[in-house]
Symmetry: C2
Subunit: 125 residues, 2 copies
Amino acid sequence: MTEPGRYAYDGLDRLIHERARLGVLTSLIGHPKGLAFGDLRRLCDLTDGNLSRHLAALQEGGLVEVIKRFEGARPLTLCRITEAGKARYLEYLAVLEQVIRDAAEAAKAAEPLPGPLPGAGLAPV
Amino acid sequence: MTEPGRYAYDGLDRLIHERARLGVLTSLIGHPKGLAFGDLRRLCDLTDGNLSRHLAALQEGGLVEVIKRFEGARPLTLCRITEAGKARYLEYLAVLEQVIRDAAEAAKAAEPLPGPLPGAGLAPV
């Protein structure tokens, strides 16, 4: 019952697990050519400042790259997931699936019986 | 493509989303009669101090209850998920499943083609 560390979930990478960054990475994994900063901000419903901060953390970790360039005279900030970022995010998702399986199994195993059995709830003597 | 807030995941309850607390709640949902503090600590591979801190946060949010009692002369701290805690955790898990579905769909839709097409990578003129 008490297998040590059974529910420690060390694989839940803290850099990815943050709620807003989960949204950023999910958006970017679907757009391997990258997303404009404004589109990403809208998809994740973040402020400019918040998105910038989360992108900086992800960029520092090597999970995304941020490319500033010009489209004609107009500056464009393109955000893209890296190959390493994609691999780490997919690993993270596998652990997330494990959490869901564990919880589903635990909740199912713990379903209360339809009615009280005679003597149920009494400690064995 | 840029449905506002599509990947905002507001339903990822911050109280539950913290990695250690995910482990605590998953442990407790499988033991509706409660777990002794020491067993919970081992299952989640946490220090006494960390587990106490996370339990305090969960207790303040009404998700768990912590019962101190004596078994004979021996003090026992029992940790138990509340009905409200169970409901909130199951809601949280539904959003987590949505994240996984979104990411799986996005990653699949974005699969690169088997080989480069003639002219691939060139911007349209």
